[in-house]
Symmetry: C2
Subunit: 494 residues, 2 copies
């Protein structure tokens, strides 16, 4: 076998190990009774170790080096590029550091679950300081090996490879410059209107039917996927078998429904990846920023059109009791309502980027060594004041301690949420110049045209192109905040 064939078969095997891990983890979140937790944790650890050792067998490096000189097709060369990337991410770090991080991050995350509700920053910061120290070491090693401009850039590569810190800084600067003012304007205008009450009593069974119907309308194939319930909505799966989840509260149906719409976007991307490259790195989704652009395209673009709200109003009327009557306009008001708050995960579309910018500014300074853990609460409060006019002094629970990302060591993940929002708006603008107005397409029952465009321009490419090549090809330019700002202006009549 050639070096390329050897790599092909080694990565195919690794993908089967990942298949197992995907199902073990999905089952753990969705199906497993509590009694199975201990054995499952051990089985997952064993499979992760197996995957790690398959990726780190010494031959991989040899084969990669041979392939660098080999006569490969462009697709094969791109596959090798992605293999090398995956191999580096797994291989760069000394085993000792990997183990130390696993322990420190697990401990900190575990303490976080009890210390956050107690608002105990002092207690938390002890174990968190260790997490940051180790992450800085990780970033330093990665920076050195990958030659990135900053340590933080090296961390970004784990989630949004191809999107640099400078691209993020520029994009976020554009948003920071206009969003606070925009939010004020929208809130002032909202003050003059009556907010519709969308709360009520919505039985879970009917909500499940609603989520099922809407996912199917958006193209989710229930012969190649499932929709279940979990504590937090997520999307996972294997080729031909996408698994999405949502959660239901009986006083509000929009929360679960838009969770489903969001996850359907993720699942559609996965389902549309190139079949010929199943089990190879080239066949995987590009990165988190592109992934989030697909979920947000579904949630914030398709999901907020007049036509989608009309379709939803009809379903609501059919499924829930006769005294629930919400018009398309009322639903649209509810899903587009702007109201700055302390918590990121419940933030509206206009506030959300500012929550991310707070985190990005703090974590990049932290990883680059320009800020210390003890500075975080004040920095958080000062930025929240400045961008969203909200005070978090003494309230770290709903401030810098609110997210699981940092205690679990995931520095560099946050920007992908807002890069995703930026990419989604930019893709919509490009799509509309090609196939027409999104709202009109949905009104004409042509959602398949929309998903076909996403398939042709994003999904089918897998990891063939770098993220900015993919955006350039699909939209004519790299990631840029202009389209998102235009979208906000249009959405809120500014």
């Amino acid at each position: 076998m050639s070096a390329y064939q050897n790599l092909h078969s080694a990565f195919r095997k690794i993908a089967y190990y990942q298949h197992c891990l995907t199902i073990l983890e999905w089952d753990q979140e969705v199906m497993m009774p509590g009694g199975g937790a201990e054995e499952r944790a051990n089985a997952i650890a064993e499979m992760s170790a197996l995957e790690h050792s398959a990726m780190n067998q010494p031959e991989i490096q040899t084969w990669l080096d041979v392939c660098a000189e080999a006569d490969l097709t462009a697709d094969e060369a791109a596959n090798v590029r992605e293999m090398r990337r995956a191999w580096q991410n797994s291989n760069l770090m000394p085993e000792e550091l990997v183990r130390e991080q696993a322990v420190a991050n697990a401990l900190c995350q575990q303490q976080w679950t009890t210390l956050r509700p107690q608002n105990d920053w002092a207690g938390f910061s002890t174990s968190f300081t260790r997490v940051v120290e180790l992450a800085r070491e990780q970033a330093r090693i990665r920076q050195q090996a990958l030659n990135t401009p900053t340590p933080y850039d090296a961390m970004l590569g784990l989630y949004s490879c191809g999107d640099s810190a400078s691209l993020i800084d520029e994009t976020f600067a554009q948003l920071k410059a206009i969003l606070p003012e925009m939010i004020n304007t929208v809130c002032e205008r909202q003050n003059k209107t009556t907010r519709v009450n969308v709360r009520g009593e919505f039985p879970v069974a009917q909500q499940q039917q609603l989520s099922h119907n809407i996912a199917a309308t958006l193209g989710f194939d229930f012969n190649a996927g499932r929709l279940d319930i979990s504590a937090h909505p997520f999307s996972t799966g294997n080729p031909g078998d996408q698994r999405i989840t949502t959660r239901y509260r009986t006083d509000d149906f929009l929360d679960a429904l838009f969770g489903t719409v969001h996850e359907t976007g993720h699942a559609s991307y996965e389902a549309g990846l190139p079949k010929a490259w199943r089990g190879q790195p080239l066949g995987l989704a590009r990165n988190m920023s592109i992934h989030e652009s697909q979920s947000l395209f579904f949630e914030k673009h398709i999901g907020t059109t007049d036509a989608f709200c009309a379709l939803l109003a009809k379903q609501v009327q059919t499924l829930f009791s006769a005294d629930v009557s919400l018009s398309a306009d009322e639903l649209k008001q509810a899903v587009c309502w702007v109201e700055p708050g302390l918590i990121r995960v419940s933030a509206d579309e206009l506030s959300y980027p500012l929550h991310i910018i707070v985190r990005h500014e703090i974590e990049s300074a932290l990883i680059n060594g320009d800020m210390e853990v003890s500075d975080i609460p004040d920095a958080w409060n000062q930025k929240m004041q400045q961008y969203l006019g909200l005070n978090t002094q003494g309230n770290n629970k709903d401030g810098c301690m609110q997210d699981v990302h940092w205690p679990s060591g995931a520095f560099g993940y946050f920007p992908s949420y807002t890069l995703g929002a930026v990419n989604a708006a930019q893709l919509r603008a490009a799509m509309e110049t090609k196939i027409g107005d999104l709202n009109a397409l949905i009104a004409a029952n042509e959602i398949a045209q929309i998903t076909q465009w996403l398939h042709d321009n994003i999904w089918q490419w897998g990891s063939r192109l770098e993220s900015q090549e993919l955006m350039q090809r699909a939209t004519g330019k790299p990631t840029n905040a202009a389209a998102l700002i235009t979208h906000f202006e249009r959405q809120y009549g500014l």
Copy 2:
């Protein structure tokens, strides 16, 4: 590390691979959408190969040989005995034969699904002949290595290790001598009574609630297990996480319910295995004959007592619509109704052993080379005539082609069903001498005393004892049909 410690850790790792396979297969039967089939089949094949190669690493044999001379505790020595058994089962066969069998059995099983409904014995027998040839070769190799009296004995060891063909022959001879006459007597008596109609309209949701309640009453712990739906009822799981399934038809609730009762017996055994030996061969269930004794103890002993039927009648009254009213006596009549038929899986308690004896006599002759594939249909018909008075001439669909076991190469499995029935009755008799009448215990709400006895005498032993040692210890004698015959006499007032 000592050789024993090396083995301990190698088998612990193999058990984690089996954990993955268990969940991949459960998910495939219960949760997976059709689109996932291809990748799942490949992932299962990859994990099976991994398990096989872990079991067949050359060091295992070396460690086993060292342990044969080592100073081990009695438990450790028994664990090594079971390790050697598992290693032999995996290792005895040449890889080429394993592969050939996998292909031939899969092909024959696949053809069987279409040729059985068409009653096409001629078409079926071509690929089935190859299955038998390879099974004979397998039996010959196993016989030689394991020094068993016959090739068929060597096959029995795969399912009911410790139970010899001669033990089975003796046991079955006892049953064959009395069952045909017994069935006639019972049927004649039944002819003079009115058969109660237990059919009706039973919505699935209520049946699920009934199955859930009854499983819980029998001690199934829903914090350490699940009850789901699948095409055929089965029981699987991992430590702390038992997964049972049943299937519902809306015109009959007894089918699904007794499926649940049966699987609850299997699951209770698994849940009661010794925790200290999790992940080690000693911690596994003894063999299929003991396993089936637990499911049949629940189904045929607990499940047919007056007290259980009374408890069931109460549940039925609460859960189903007011016009379903069945007394305990009526339910008991339905679950104990005797009516010989062609199909094993729907056979009553008295006919069932005869169905097994037909299969055992044919498959033992087949594997030992005393019968050819072309002889099967006539042999089947002749035996069904003789034992059950039923004709299968020209109806191979409901005769020798009815089971999946043979086309999938599982020769030697059938006896465990009836050995299980024999063991169950023998355990009940021993239990009743110790803790009193089963019916009285259930009536007194003391099911926990029954399961505690099973735990102490069967479950907690795992594979510490050989099957006949286990039966001897629990009941004072090896497996013997006397107690089952006494049970039948008592159950049917003979």
